[in-house]
């Protein structure tokens, strides 16, 4: 993990090395100040030596200025190193994600990837800044102060050494123990919040069944549970500050007692004694700091691991070494294809698929949920690789093509499709960045999108919101079809792409497609029989196997599944609303 992440430091390596060095400089200078103060008191005041006081005072000022300089340099380089690191992590992940195959994307899911790119990076970059600036500063401050103490009086300094060891142990144990409890409590806490969220989104159900009191009771029980866990955890860290005080006070008392005796005995000066007391605070504060840094870092380890995972992920698909760029025609052939999403799965998703589709044919695909219709078509543009067998387009195995070329010539309108924020024209040009306005309008006419776009006040310049939330489901689907058409593909795959479009418009789109791009092979997945009945041939999929592949007329006669679906849809099982909604 460390290796993966540190490889992303790149141009910020220098800053990352300089920052702790500057921090070291700052700490060193700061440690000098109490030391010099002791000299002013013991030499300057006691001997009434004003020039000496001014000279040493001037040195102190210079030391403070140097400390300021080092501190500011450390601040600057630390900020650059850590923010730069964050930038590079995002950049590295984003680049790698662009190479992800569908299988890789499925593995992480959208929310997972977003978290890694946003929150996780923020956690890691903040922790990194902490490491660069504090990890060096805190121990260095402790060590410098300790050395200064030993220079003044080894006997008194040994009191601090013991205190540091005892306090360090105590803090360590408390931190580890408390973290364990807190983590457990936070998990419960998250669960509680999830249940609130569940309740909020299901509020109509709760109210309809008058379950308010039942839900309140459940919540009170859960929140009492959390209260107890958190109190338990806090009862451990509550020892923190009294124990810290106890240690500091003990040191002060011991140093005062022994120090006083030493001063009286002549082996220590008054100024030295007071600077010892100042160092006491420095040392124990640094220790406190260190335990804080430790907690910060350990909290970001999970984030760091998640980031490393994405950075190390290898795409499950790769481009062949001597790729073909041109797809000859739109013929498609499946030869003994078997497909599993997960190689370890027992049952294949697609089994023994053999298909021969001629260029320019229109093929309908029908089957229940889970019959693997989408899986079947996703193999054609090589969104996934077959487990065994071959899929060929234009007479060549899809794995021989350059991926981009293949996908540009086999155009898929995905079932779960999205539009992006930007104008309608911007969205359409995803299909072809160089498309003219006329070409875009032409595609929209074919997809029956032109009619509603023309009704928008800003027509083709209408702004689409993120996720396409300001257009209806049917409008979105038609825009997605138009976008796919702009690729001028050899094969066009519509994966349930007109489900939200009313039947009449659906028919119009199909008619337009068959008239204007007759040479393009068209595969249409649909729930409605009416969407596929005019296709040249129809594939009936059942449980990942081809149940039949024939014309509408023959299927009605010979295929039970097809007949079933046909009858249920024509005998009073239709979509009443949508028929009239438009």
């Amino acid at each position: 993990m460390l290796k993966t992440l540190s490889a992303e430091l790149k141009e910020f390596k220098r800053d990352s090395i300089l920052t702790p060095l500057f921090m070291l400089g700052e700490v060193f200078m700061e440690t000098l100040i109490p030391f010099l103060m002791a000299m002013i008191i013991d030499t300057g005041i006691k001997q009434n030596n004003l020039p000496y006081i001014f000279k040493t005072g001037a040195i102190m000022m210079i030391v403070a200025l140097l400390s300021l300089m080092f501190g500011c340099l450390g601040a600057k380089y630390g900020a650059r190193a850590s923010m730069g690191f964050g930038r590079n992590l995002r950049k590295g992940m984003f680049r790698n994600i662009q190479n992800f195959s569908f299988a890789n994307i499925d593995k992480y899911n959208t929310a997972g990837l977003v978290t890694r790119l946003t929150t996780d990076v923020t956690n890691v970059q903040n922790a990194y800044q902490m490491i660069l600036r504090m990890c060096m500063r805190a121990p260095a401050s402790m060590i410098c102060s300790m050395i200064a103490c030993f220079l003044i009086s080894p006997r008194l300094a040994s009191i601090y050494l013991i205190a540091v060891i005892v306090l360090g142990f105590a803090l360590g144990i408390m931190t580890v123990l408390a973290m364990k409890y807190f983590q457990a409590a936070f998990k419960k806490y998250d669960a509680l919040n999830e249940s609130v969220e569940e309740n909020v989104s299901a509020i109509r159900v709760v109210k309809a069944y008058v379950r308010g009191d039942y839900e309140k009771n459940r919540f009170h029980k859960a929140s009492s549970n959390i209260y107890e866990m958190l109190v338990k955890a806090e009862n451990i860290i509550v020892w923190n500050s009294p124990f810290m005080q106890f240690t500091v006070y003990s040191c002060i008392v011991l140093v005062s007692w022994f120090g006083a005796k030493m001063v009286v005995g002549g082996s220590l000066e008054t100024g030295q004694l007071t600077s010892m007391l100042t160092y006491c605070m420095n040392i124990l504060m640094s220790l406190m700091m260190l335990s804080f840094v430790f907690v910060m870092i350990s909290m970001s380890v999970a984030s760091a691991n998640r980031i490393a995972e994405v950075l190390n992920e290898k795409s499950t698909l790769d481009n062949p070494s001597n790729p073909i760029h041109e797809v000859k025609d739109g013929s498609i052939k499946f030869d003994n294809v078997e497909f599993k999403y997960n190689l370890k799965a027992e049952e294949p998703v697609l089994n023994n698929i053999n298909l021969d589709i001629k260029s320019g044919e229109t093929i309908g695909i029908i089957g229940g949920t889970g019959s693997s219709k989408s899986s079947l078509v996703n193999l054609i543009s090589r969104l996934y690789d077959v487990t065994s067998g071959t899929v060929s387009v234009g007479g060549r195995d899809v794995r021989e093509y350059d991926l981009d070329s293949l996908r540009n010539q086999v155009s898929v309108v995905l079932q779960k499709n999205v539009l992006f924020s930007g104008s309608i024209l911007d969205n359409l040009r995803w299909g072809n960045p160089n498309a003219t306005d006329e070409e875009c309008i032409e595609a929209c006419k074919l997809a029956c999108a032109d009619e509603f776009i023309e009704r928008f006040p800003r027509k083709y310049n209408t702004h689409i919101e993120q996720g396409g939330n300001n257009v209806s489901g049917g409008q979105k689907q038609r825009l997605c079809i138009a976008r796919a058409l702009l690729k001028k593909p050899k094969v066009l795959i519509l994966d349930d792409s007109t489900s939200a479009v009313d039947t009449a418009t659906d028919a119009k789109i199909r008619k337009a497609l068959s008239e204007s791009i007759p040479g393009t092979t068209k595969l249409i997945i649909a729930q409605r029989i009416s969407s596929v009945e005019n296709a040249d041939r129809i594939i009936v999929l059942n449980d990942g196997k081809i149940d039949a592949f024939d014309t509408h007329e023959n299927l009605i006669k010979n295929n039970e599944i097809y007949r079933d679906v046909y009858e249920s849809q024509t005998k009073g099982n239709g979509d009443f609303d949508e028929g009239g909604a438009n």
Partner: protein, 629 residues
């Protein structure tokens, strides 16, 4: 110490009032504890300062004179040290005690706050949930409660602690040396001035950073959502180019924002050191010249105070910031608590009933399977029992989600017990709205709705809703077993009743196929089930409640045809024998209805049976034939 980055302060209207309200909330439960906390904080701070001040006596009263004695007598010093040990012991014990009490005050307040919030939220009308984004409601429970925790258990005690420390140190410093105190205070003013300047400078960059971060995160979210489309359209290179621009911009602003925030630490520390150095020099001069009675002991003690003076001042400004942030969260919490709960002035209740041989009805505590409305007349206190039948009448109902815009106009319809009423019409015609009025999710503006002849405004909401079953198009399930989810409809249902309901709903078959059958745990709104399966569970849940009136929202065709058939069969069985209002998407449902209501723009434009409406050749005819061609 790394300083907290200065965040722009949120604007709140009346922080004082908010603070007072919060104090009342906490004080009501923990007034005695809070007094103890205050006392122990004072003791803890005083002990600390007293201990530091002892340095002066140590030097001036004991060390200096003792150094001059040939045979030093350590007796008085021993006594003094013992006194200090005593003072310190009080300090440590006080710190421990107030920290310990604060755990219970802090966590207890939070628990109370969470419980109050949740209970109150349960009583809010549906309208509240319509008009507030779920994310915003959730952030009250997570973020706002969290900042409140920080404020109660950290910021406020620390603020008191720091303020006390400042006051006590200041008094001690004046007692030690007035001129040096003036220097120290001047330096503190400079520090505050510089801090303000820096905060102003860096807040500019911070705003830029927040903006850039928002833009980049928005881009990331959008592209991760559309990553598959990106692949399909081979848009990766363009995507990387766009990303790099935003990412570099964020780096620039984040670097600047962090840099300025970081500068603050060393700058403040060195102004502190400068103050220290100046005090050393001036103090040394005063001590040598013997002005102002400045002894060496007083000087070194003053220097120690000087060093520990800036820390509490920084803390006060930091904690004040944190408190203002927390108060903004508090405001949102109180806003939620101030929302008016769903009003319920109903007094007609639903009771178990027995029908006597003479046809009259008496109330009983036993579960009889028969129900009656208990109508206590407000005028004379006499009681009527009306049998629960499921007769629903709309009489001239007008409704709008707000006063300005009515969505339903003059709705008139009736359903006799056991009848099936279908609503058809395009999206936005008002179908769902009508069904939401029957169970009083919303209250009507004008007209009357009667249930078994009683105006539903007179019926207690809980009882009204008990008499209605509802299956929504978006199914919501709860974390828990399948069994618990079905039992949600009737909490005291036996296992056998659950099985029976599942069988009726056609859900039994698929439940048996689940890993643990009825004990399978559903999580994330039943995310591990298909949409059809979730609907079957929702039907079973309604079935077990066995209400006389049903409100159904048929699913659109997003599930595949064969599953849809199973779901429809379940729905059909649920509907039989009950008064049903159904938002229909299916031809067969519509055709079999006793009355079809065609809605357009919030008005009933046609009403009648299938045959009558076909005969009329109106809108329904158009809808019907439009589908069949």
């Amino acid at each position: 110490m790394p300083r907290q980055m200065p965040k722009p302060r949120p604007k709140i209207k009346n922080p004082g009032k908010l603070f007072l309200r919060l104090s009342k909330f906490v004080g009501k439960i923990y007034s005695i504890q809070l007094i103890f906390v205050l006392v122990f904080i004072i003791l803890s701070v005083a002990a600390n300062i007293k201990g530091t001040a002892f340095l002066k006596d140590l030097v001036d009263v004991y060390i200096e004179p003792l150094s001059k004695q040939a045979h030093p007598d350590y007796g008085p010093l021993t006594n003094a040290i013992l006194r200090i040990i005593g003072i310190y012991a009080i300090g440590v014990i006080s710190t421990f005690t107030f920290s310990k009490i604060m755990i219970y005050v802090g966590q207890g307040t939070l628990k109370r706050m969470r419980d109050t919030l949740f209970s109150h939220m349960q009583d809010l009308p549906i309208k509240y949930f319509d008009t507030h984004a779920h994310g915003d409601i959730m952030s009250v429970y997570t973020n706002d409660i969290d900042t409140l925790r920080q404020m109660i258990s950290q910021s406020i005690p620390q603020l008191i602690n720091s303020t006390l420390t400042i006051v006590l140190i200041f008094i001690q410093m004046i007692l030690l040396s007035v001129p040096l105190t003036i220097i120290t205070v001047l330096m503190v003013c400079i520090t505050l001035f510089v801090t303000r300047k820096f905060a102003g400078l860096s807040s500019k960059y911070f705003l830029a950073q927040q903006k850039d971060l928002g833009t980049l995160n928005g881009f990331i979210e959008e592209m991760m959502n559309g990553q598959k489309v990106v692949k399909v359209f081979t848009h990766e290179q363009q995507n990387i180019k766009d990303f790099d621009v935003l990412n570099d911009k964020l780096f620039e602003s984040a670097y600047n924002a962090n840099r300025f925030a970081n500068y603050l630490g060393p700058v403040n520390a060195q102004i502190g050191n400068a103050s220290y150095v100046i005090c050393v020099i001036v103090g040394a001069m005063l001590a040598i010249n013997g002005h102002f009675d400045l002894t060496i002991g007083a000087l070194v003690t003053f220097l120690t105070f000087n060093k520990s003076f800036s820390m509490p001042i920084n803390q006060v400004s930091q904690q004040l910031n944190a408190i203002v942030m927390a108060l903004a969260g508090c405001e949102r919490i109180f806003d939620l608590l101030d929302e008016k709960p769903e009003a319920d002035n109903g007094y007609v209740t639903l009771v178990n009933s027995v029908e006597n041989p003479d046809g009259s009805i008496t109330e009983t505590k036993k579960h009889t399977g028969h129900w009656a409305w208990k109508h206590t007349h407000q005028a004379d206190g006499s009681v009527d029992y009306i049998p629960l039948k499921g007769d629903v009448v709309f009489d001239g109902v007008d409704f709008g989600y707000n006063e300005e815009k009515m969505v339903l106009h003059d709705i008139k319809l009736y359903a006799k017990p056991g009848q099936k009423i279908a609503f058809v019409g395009s999206t936005g015609a008002g179908k769902t709205t009508i069904t939401n009025l029957i169970n009083r999710f919303y209250d009507i503006q004008d007209g009357k709705i009667r249930y078994d002849g009683i105006n539903i405004n007179k019926i207690k909401k809980a009882d009204l809703r008990h008499s209605l079953g509802i299956v929504l198009q978006d199914t919501h399930l709860f974390t828990g077993t399948v069994m618990e989810n079905i039992r949600y409809g009737k909490l005291d249902a036996t296992d056998e009743e659950v099985y029976a309901a599942a069988k009726l709903a056609n859900a039994d078959t698929f439940i048996h196929q689940l890993a643990d059958g009825y004990d399978t745990i559903l999580t994330g709104d039943g995310g591990n089930l298909s949409q059809g399966q979730r609907q079957l569970l929702a039907i079973a849940r309604a079935a077990i409640a066995d209400p006389p009136v049903l409100i159904l929202d048929e699913a659109t065709s997003s599930i595949d045809t064969r599953t849809e058939k199973i779901v429809q069969d379940g729905m059909d069985r649920l509907m039989s024998g009950r008064t049903t209002f159904v938002i229909a998407h299916r031809l067969s449902t519509v055709r079999n209805s006793d009355c079809i209501i065609v809605l357009e723009q919030g008005r009933i434009i046609e009403k009648g049976t299938h045959d009558e409406l076909i005969e009329a050749r109106g809108k329904y005819y158009q809808l019907y034939t439009g589908l069949s061609n």
